[in-house]
Symmetry: C2
Subunit: 314 residues, 2 copies
């Protein structure tokens, strides 16, 4: 029997755009939007919410900003058929540049933060709530956070009005045992709140860890089409939708848009499991060195990468 | 704390050879052999045990036969540093063609069978035991076997002398819940025996399901370098060895031989996650239609494949 509280958030454009600086055509975004709507996915994360001028529109494309005009171009003349989400990084968006929800096509704003930024994240998230948005806080890189700091952050989040808190495996380090322990910890520390999961696929565990999260009572589930995303990528949406039992889900539109829009990108940019990402994942390191290695001409020299990554500090 | 009973079986040459009809050079096999030895892997499955004449040596290469001369060419003049295993398919090897273990470089013979072949498998496996080999029976495709037939097969296996029985997810269909239930069932039904796991990666769950198997008390673990294998491939050995805590394991030689021998093959033949394999996995179907599709010129037409695979029988 399916759990009606479960919501699926597609991050194809937002997380996939980290790979190509959001150089997706409007047709790409529109076809993803239509496919997600048809397949019963609950939210589409269309990009980041940034103040104009914080980045170059020419370099970063529209989905680094998610301005209302951009969103309307995707929706077209018909009624919007899925909820839109955008991610906000602390310091990249001025409060004044966030329109009231009633004047925006965005439904949800997700604030990403590291553990030392939790107060700022709560402040921004509650500001967005007051403007009428659904909000989440996505606490990143918790695989490197010590117990005391995590407990203080969870305590702060428990006292906030923010209703949805994400467990984020930024480095693709966690095994299912970690997810079991952390999911229980989040649920116990955050009474009355909804917990989300965002995995990375460095160890081919993003989907498996999402299943572990579901089993442990986590209800907000992030995924992307064909796992597209920075580095090793994400939990593949088509696997997640095939796993979930809610009869509203249909995997066929996802397969169709993968064929039409995502497979062509898979020939131009590279994501998914590879040895450098596996190495940083198993070592609980940020993938930036692996990303740089994979973009170099020496990407197949994986032993040299391993030796560098495991060098003991002098 | 690690579990000393855990043994890792590399199937790179045997299962990877299903993709290229075992057209691996002696150097490939020798370098894999040396790397596995250095990394602390317990067994190397070098191929299939077949009677000469059952296949063409020219077409299938030496590792479809695993004759003693072939094995000696790999080992060279020094003492063998890892146990060798070969897989036997029922009907492909005459009993007379199996040398006594004392005259062979093989240490273990693994008999693969479907549920209706269990009696034949026991007969062959016990014959190999009597010749001095370690043996396993690998019961394939159990995701399509009904409860009564599985229980009868397990009952027969329990009464046999065969000490190691494998749970094989031939179609890459199982989620961790299935592994939990089946691992417990195998362990309860086969008192005193060791249980093994062999996964496939159609849903990117081969490694995760191997972890679930370990948690549930399964001790013989199959994997291949970089997941090489037919279709979606197998549990990646480098991930498994990084996960296991026994201090004897070292992942570096595996990364080195992946760079040297496996990455070049990954440019010539294709394995790993793709939509057709995902479709047959989620539908609990044999991957043969997906393999044929991936070898065709229409391999990116994944929606047509999905429609064909989900067609209701007339």
């Amino acid at each position: 029997m399916y759990r009606p509280q479960i919501k699926v958030i597609d991050c194809t454009v937002r997380d996939g755009g980290l790979m190509n600086k959001w150089q997706f055509s409007d047709d790409f975004v529109r076809n993803v939007y239509r496919a997600l709507s048809k397949s019963g996915v609950d939210y589409m994360e269309v990009g980041y919410l940034s103040s104009e001028g914080m980045f170059s529109r020419e370099e970063m494309g529209p989905w680094k900003f998610c301005a209302e005009d951009d969103l309307i171009r995707i929706i077209g003349d018909t009624e919007k058929t899925i909820k839109f989400s955008a991610m906000a990084d602390i310091g990249r968006i001025s409060y004044d540049d966030i329109p009231p929800c009633a004047e925006s096509s965005l439904d949800m704003i997700r604030v990403a933060c590291y553990v030392h930024q939790v107060d700022k994240a709560i402040y921004l998230a509650e500001h967005c709530m007051d403007k009428g948005y659904e909000v989440t806080i996505n606490l990143m890189a918790v695989s490197t956070v010590n117990q005391r700091d995590l407990e203080e952050a969870l305590d702060d989040l428990a006292k906030s009005r923010v209703p949805i808190i994400y467990l984020v495996d930024s480095f693709g380090f966690f095994y299912s045992e970690h997810i079991d322990v952390l999911a229980r910890k989040y649920i116990e520390s955050l009474p009355g709140k909804t917990i989300g999961i965002h995995g990375h696929n460095n160890q081919q565990l993003a989907f498996a860890n999402t299943i572990s999260a579901i089993i442990n009572g986590i209800n907000f589930l992030d995924a992307t089409l064909y796992g597209i995303g920075r580095g090793a990528g994400n939990c593949p949406l088509e696997l997640l939708v095939s796993f979930l039992k809610n009869p509203k889900f249909d995997v066929r539109p996802l397969i169709e848009v993968i064929e039409q829009e995502v497979l062509p990108w898979s020939k131009k940019i590279e994501w998914g499991y590879s040895i450098p990402y596996m190495v940083t994942g198993t070592l609980n390191q940020h993938p930036r060195a692996a990303i740089a290695h994979m973009e170099s001409n020496d990407k197949d020299k994986v032993t040299a990468f391993y030796d560098q990554a495991t060098l003991l500090p002098v």
